[in-house]
Symmetry: C2
Amino acid sequence: MSAKYQKIYQSLLDQIESKNIKAGEYLPSENELMKQYDASRDTIRKSLNLLLQNGYIQKVVGKGSVVLDADRIAFPVSGITSFKELKQTMSGDVKTIVHELQKFPADEKMKKELYMESGDVYKIVRIRTINNEKVILDTDYLNGNVVDGITEEIANDSLYDYIEQDLGLKISFSKKEITVIPATKEEKKLLDMLDYDLLVCVKSYSYLEDATLFEYTESKHRPDKFRFVDFARRMK
Amino acid sequence: MSAKYQKIYQSLLDQIESKNIKAGEYLPSENELMKQYDASRDTIRKSLNLLLQNGYIQKVVGKGSVVLDADRIAFPVSGITSFKELKQTMSGDVKTIVHELQKFPADEKMKKELYMESGDVYKIVRIRTINNEKVILDTDYLNGNVVDGITEEIANDSLYDYIEQDLGLKISFSKKEITVIPATKEEKKLLDMLDYDLLVCVKSYSYLEDATLFEYTESKHRPDKFRFVDFARRMK
DNA sequence: GAGTGGTCTAGACCACTTT
DNA sequence: AAGTGGTCTAGACCACTCG
């Protein structure tokens, strides 16, 4: 986070989020920003590109960079938000129950899902409660060759913090798939399902900076507690 | 699409998609690509950035750009795919039934959703069938000050083609929200709901290049026919 | 005509990986 | 030591919007 363009991005973002520059207003021109931040045009443009990609501004040729209305749909779910990070944007009292934690030699399914040839796999099953209702069931499978030393405390706190801060690995990107599936008896027993028979299933593959696949997750949400927000630019 | 970096992007993408360069292999280095395409490093890097953002490659410092496994999760839903575009990636026989098409002065709800002060709004209700099953209910509201002249044929074919090709407007970005909602009696009547009581609701706000909001859509999917795929890079 | 963003170029230094 | 990507700079021309 020491790069100049990232600092400028953060500085501009702060001004947008604090409503110092309001939705509908224009940012200073690239020329202006060059002077303000004592940076080259290219550096400024890198900063603006980050704002652009994350849906904070829209550039209009001949006019400038307009600030968009980020409140319209609040923006909790961008990037690879882990549950702990997500939690901070959620209302209500959120807790984690570690239901299962084991380490075992990778079976066929895991070798396939995690592209492993040998070694151990961690399986972690966690139940997430919101206001004391059990509404999310997370099952993680981790490549034990990449990540090791997972304990119940870690699983109870934050896996991502452990991987990034303690192991010093860098989580880089993920692929997610969202579908709706019937709840099994087992799942109905573990969660407070009310009258629902379906679960929203988010399958997720997470990768490190060097493109190593280290985690496969199935996150099953009670339908009424599920919400996903997306910002997308058109690519033609 | 005439920019040099976009052409290089497309060229590299073709090679990746045709398996000319396979997953796990490295692209030529930036230096190599500069020579191959007779371009500056900056231009090459712009092309690679597009591949990066769309999940086709991962850059590893000191090594190069690895091609990722795009097949792992197929990638139908990136950008603002309209239904017609989506259709092409779907299996099965897909049809559209225009159920309602009207134009009326914006009421309070529409003024709020579309940020209008006055003028007309189009309301279009369409039912999408897959293999003759009615599984998706799309309701579009369009700002009549921006988009005009919509007929049943257009609604039946492709709204986006009309807006982009006939009206010459440029669709630029959208915000989407995915939730699950109970199906109303009306919706149950319009769709083939089998035993399902829930619908996946995708609310979408679509904007033009100059940041004008021109469309608000509610797309309701029968749960078993819904699938959403997402690629995300971590922003810390 | 002045100002805006969009694109492209050429050159430089750094931290990192590999041999 | 050589090669890689990450960052930063300076200068140029274009198409576009606005007054």
